[in-house]
């Protein structure tokens, strides 16, 4: 057992957990935040993507102990109170989901790719390439890609309006 402490969605949390505890188990089972999903057992599906120190990672392929001292954001940490994050709003607007199981990872990967490329700098090819680590078994990629493009462009507009 080790004591693991981190900032999770802006709040300092800590718990004594077995060293083999995966970050996703810490988030879901210890902290009760079930927005982060586990869709596979093989680190391939991306439903569990969260941000650790600002970078998208698969929380099923990282020990909670590795995240000791880190700043972790999950899907639950994106919205500002009742106001959805622009990416969340775009997924709703463009129906970027069917069964919804992969959606948490899709949204966290989308926010990460917009951060890295800069709002407004994503085209369809780039988005599809960037989604290689996120699998939608409903195969609803078309609207997911549309939603990410719309969110990216809208965030560019927001950034411009703020200047």
């Amino acid at each position: 057992m080790s004591k693991v402490s981190m900032v999770l969605n802006g709040k300092s949390v800590s718990a004594d957990v077995e060293d083999r505890t995966l970050l996703v188990s810490f988030i879901r089972e210890v902290r009760g935040l079930t927005g982060t999903h586990v869709g596979c057992d093989t680190s391939q599906c991306g439903a569990c993507v969260v941000h650790v120190d600002g970078k998208a990672v698969k929380s099923c392929t990282m020990l909670a102990a590795q995240a000791d001292g880190a700043d972790v954001v999950t899907l639950e940490g994106l919205a500002n109170g009742g106001d959805l994050h622009p990416v969340q709003a775009a997924f709703r607007e463009h129906h970027g989901l069917q069964c919804g199981f992969c959606t948490p990872g899709m949204i966290m990967s989308a926010v990460d790719m917009i951060n890295r490329h800069g709002p407004g700098n994503l085209d369809e090819t780039t988005i599809r390439h960037e989604l290689e680590g996120n699998i939608c078994r409903c195969t609803g990629y078309h609207n997911i890609v549309k939603a990410i493009k719309a969110a990216s462009d809208q965030m560019a507009g927001m950034a411009q309006a703020a200047e």
Binding site: R20, D41, V57, N134
Partner: protein, 265 residues
């Protein structure tokens, strides 16, 4: 996953001491291969010694005529580094195509080469660029570092500290990724070194890990063009054969990827 004990090393010497005390310990880089393997219970180390927080293993710098990349540098850091993109463009391309974005945020160059997966990208990059691996004990030429499938020259308590790449005149990489796993079915790295010598290194295809193609190297020495290698075929018998592709298919891919790598250089 079976039980394990996690340790975070603060220095290379502390990491070596921790492994020495462990019953059956393993060094942990980004964990993008080791942790999935442990989840499947195909590996069950008693202890994990995390190397990624050791300051000496971090960063990318230019030293003389070489670019030196710390072992704990992630694929994403290599892919987006201005220094790497300018001086080792083939290596930046290689790093940007490993796994997927989330894997690239965690996976490290030291971890990848220490694992020496026969379908990993980095072995082709290191051999193709005539790199030198600096460890906690010695310096090893890349060709001597990669011994065979999942086998390197590393001793049990030996840690990769950095990889030094002599800056070439030209470099390029092209791979045909398995559509599901993104691992290379054949990946070819080509470089024209500062002294004009040529290297062609292949990953993913060989039945014994990374290998060089002498015939392509000499052809490119006199004519650096895709056409120069178009008629050169590696021996089918030396290639991997599995459900993803026969040895004949992989041998053909090597020629095609070599042409593309040269075109991209």
């Amino acid at each position: 996953m079976y039980e394990t004990q996690y340790h975070r090393a603060g220095s290379v010497s502390e990491a070596a001491a921790l492994i020495g005390k462990a019953e059956d310990g393993k060094f942990l880089g980004g964990g993008q291969t080791l942790l999935p393997t442990m989840k499947q219970r195909l590996a069950a180390p008693s202890d994990l010694v995390d190397l990624t927080k050791i300051p000496d293993l971090k960063g990318i710098k230019v030293e003389g005529d070489a670019v030196v990349i710390g072992a704990a540098t992630t694929h994403s850091e290599v892919a987006t580094s201005d220094v790497v993109r300018e001086k080792l463009p083939g290596l930046a391309t290689l790093a940007s195509g490993i796994g997927d974005p989330a894997v690239r945020h965690m996976g490290t160059i030291g971890g990848s080469i220490s694992n020496n997966d026969p379908a990993a990208d980095y072995p082709a990059g290191l051999v193709g660029l005539n790199a030198t691996v600096k460890t906690s004990k010695r310096s090893i030429a890349a060709e001597n570092f990669f011994v065979g499938m999942f086998e390197t020259a590393l001793e049990d308590d030996e840690i990769v500290v950095s990889v030094s790449f002599p800056v070439p005149q030209k470099s390029g990489y092209s791979k045909y990724p398995n559509p599901a796993s993104r691992y290379a079915m054949a990946g070819v790295f080509v470089s024209q070194q500062a002294d004009g010598s040529v290297r062609v290194a292949v990953t993913g295809a060989g039945s014994d890990g990374v290998f060089r193609v002498a015939e392509m190297e000499s052809a490119l020495g006199s004519n650096w063009a895709p056409d120069a290698v178009a008629g050169i075929h590696v021996n089918d018998g030396d290639m991997l054969s599995d459900i993803h592709g026969s040895s004949e298919y992989r041998a053909n891919l090597v020629t095609v990827m070599a042409k593309r790598a040269i075109a991209a250089s």
